[in-house]
């Protein structure tokens, strides 16, 4: 059981997070809640990427005076670099989304998508 968890908890957890976010986006009516759902999906996919590069018992992939030999076990640094980029993009999209929501609220005085013309689908 423990072995199963150490192997699959990261994948399962992050995919669960993505699905929760997707459920939120598809079912909520409030714009802020929809954007929280998008943010959850982003976080989920970022943890998925990190866990794909994880090596059991691996260290951070940085050579220092303490960890000097490259024969030690390292986690894969590439997904971490990808996640850094993805986080930055995610923050940019989030900021843009919130500012657009602000404008929509100013115009319509409501955040309920079923009451805003042009947002129904």
């Amino acid at each position: 059981m423990k072995e199963f968890l150490t192997n699959w908890a990261f994948f399962g957890g992050s995919i669960l997070l993505i699905l929760i976010g997707l459920y939120g986006v598809l079912t909520r009516k409030n714009l802020i809640k929809i954007i929280i759902g998008l943010s959850l999906m982003d976080t989920g996919v970022n943890t998925l990427l990190v866990s794909l590069g994880y090596v059991n018992g691996g260290k951070a992939p940085i050579l220092t005076s303490i960890v000097s030999s490259s024969t030690e076990k390292f986690v894969d640094p590439v997904p971490q670099a990808l996640v850094l980029t993805a986080i930055v993009i995610g923050v940019a999209v989030l900021a843009l989304a919130l500012s657009i929501v602000m404008k929509v609220y100013e115009k319509n005085q409501t955040l309920d998508i079923s009451k805003i013309r042009g947002l129904k689908w």
């Binding site: 993505i18 976010g21 997707l22 986006v25 714009l31 929809i34 998008l38 999906m41 982003d42 989920g44 996919v45 998925l48 990427l49 794909l52 590069g53 590439v78 997904p79 990808l82 980029t85 993805a86 993009i89 940019a92 999209v93 843009l96 989304a97 657009i100 929501v101 404008k103 929509v104 115009k107 805003i116 013309r117 042009g118 947002l119 689908w121």
Partner: protein
């Protein structure tokens, strides 16, 4: 020789310089025009050379599998030549038609979207592809908000769909990396036969969801009509002509270079065919002219996807030719439709009755675009439609051929309806607005006829491009070389 990486670097640089320059002197539209002229010259400079031999550009001097590389074969070259041409024409159009409240922001975002489109077409690295797709879409979200009427709502809709599909794209990239251990397209292509077929199915499905959003294929195209009809004309043209083109190029990369699985093509064709029928039938019912054009774009992109997934050389060449023609024609259609909306102050097709007598060049421009899409002889769409039908017949897909002909009839229905409204009947509108867009419309009409009458100059490189798309071993060899 000029390094083609400038094609991406220059618009990016100019895009971030515009807000600075604009403080001192209002010159945003001139900067855009200058950048697009330089880009066009770079393309002309490299055109012949790349048709002879594909070019690999290693960024920062790192060799192919270790660093990020750009790849320019004749396929990519045809794409960026079209993008540069349309970009230049739109820059000329923007000189007179970009008087928004915050003009410098518009030009800045426009150059950003161009940089993203160049990147999507040229890149040889899947994570780089993701970054360029995000650049393109984020700039597009911004550009959509320039309409005060419903711009914010459309942009929000676009943003929600876009964020969801970017998550799926990132998942696909992560899974591919964990299966292959590299992000380079050539390395992935080389070792894709080692991945288990079930995983390939999942990865390609995720890739499809992530990129089909960009290409406007049906289930993910719910944002298209709103965004295309709301945004300013130059933006609608960019989104419909160029972003869709880049999306189809990215899909081609995934399904022909990265993973090949003949069974997948059947599903692609099925999705494309469904999308084609739905797009054309909804377009037929529209009363808003820009919404009609948007649905017609969805249908055209699905037609390209369907015919490319037939997979024979002739069909692929026809599909690619149609893709390039569509970029020119939809730019013409959206620009003229935008001018007609500006002239009459209405989006309804029924209000356009008889305005062909008042603004003849705009109406003729629209008619030329519509004829091109329908594939009338001597217009550029004729040769590509002929190649498509020939290609699907040669591959033995009779049902598909019937479907394409049937949808052309539907298309004819709604386009001819508009043309008939334009030239017959009496107009009630007494608008004395002058239209200042003769140069871009005349250039576009000229391109339509030149390509229609001398198709050989396009069909030869297009055939070469189709060969290149279908021979992935050459791609791998060109990128990895003696590795």
């Amino acid at each position: 020789m000029v390094n083609p990486i400038l094609l991406i670097a220059l618009p990016l640089l100019a895009s971030f310089l515009i807000p600075l320059i604009d403080h001192i002197k209002k010159s945003g539209s001139i900067t855009v025009l200058a950048t697009m002229i330089i880009n066009f010259m770079i393309v002309i400079n490299n055109f012949e050379k790349i048709l002879e031999k594909p070019m690999l550009i290693e960024i920062g001097g790192w060799q192919a599998p270790f660093g990020i590389n750009l790849y320019l074969g004749s396929l990519e070259m045809m794409g960026i030549a079209t993008i540069s041409l349309i970009g230049l024409i739109l820059a000329i159009y923007n000189l007179n038609h970009s008087h928004f409240e915050s003009e410098s922001k518009f030009h800045s975002l426009f150059l950003l979207i161009m940089a993203g489109i160049y990147g999507i077409v040229m890149t040889g690295d899947i994570f780089n592809l993701f970054v360029f797709i995000e650049i393109t879409t984020i700039a597009a979200y911004g550009l959509t908000t320039f309409n005060k009427e419903m711009g914010y709502e459309a942009a929000l809709k676009y943003l929600i769909v876009g964020s969801i599909s970017s998550v799926f794209l990132l998942m696909a990239i992560g899974l591919t990396y964990s299966a292959v251990g590299s992000l380079n397209m050539a390395v992935i292509a080389e070792s894709s036969h080692l991945i288990s077929p079930a995983l390939i199915r999942i990865i390609t499905l995720l890739f499809f969801v992530g990129i089909a959003f960009e290409a406007g294929i049906f289930p993910l195209s719910i944002w298209v009509p709103d965004v295309h009809s709301i945004s300013p004309s130059a933006v609608s043209s960019t989104l419909s002509g160029l972003v869709f083109l880049a999306g189809i190029f990215a899909l081609n990369k995934v399904f022909f270079t990265l993973f090949i699985d003949p069974e997948l093509y059947f599903y692609l064709m099925l999705i494309g065919a469904i999308s084609l029928i739905i797009g054309e039938l909804i377009a037929y019912q529209q009363e808003d002219i820009k919404r009609m054009l948007a649905y017609s774009s969805i249908a055209q992109m699905s037609l390209v996807l369907t015919i490319v997934s037939v997979g024979t050389r002739y069909a692929v060449a026809g599909g690619l030719f149609q893709l390039l023609n569509h970029a020119v024609l939809k730019t013409l259609l959206f620009l003229t439709a935008g001018l007609m909306i500006k002239y009459t102050g209405s989006r309804k097709i029924s209000d356009f009755e008889g305005i062909g007598k008042k603004i003849p060049l705009v109406a003729i421009g629209f008619s030329v675009g519509a004829m091109g899409i329908l594939g009338v002889p001597f217009f550029n769409g004729f040769i590509s439609k002929l190649m498509i039908i020939n290609g699907s017949l040669n591959a033995g897909k009779y049902l598909l051929t019937f479907l394409i002909l049937f949808t052309t009839v539907v298309e004819m229905g709604y386009y001819l309806k508009v043309i008939q409204k334009l030239f017959f009947g009496e107009t009630k509108i007494n608008s004395n607005k002058t239209i200042k867009a003769y140069v871009p419309i005349l250039i576009l009409i000229a391109i339509v006829f030149i390509v229609g009458i001398y198709p050989d100059m396009i069909t030869e490189p297009i055939n070469q491009a189709a060969n290149e798309l279908l021979s992935r071993s050459n791609y791998i060899l060109n990128v990895l070389g003696g590795m």
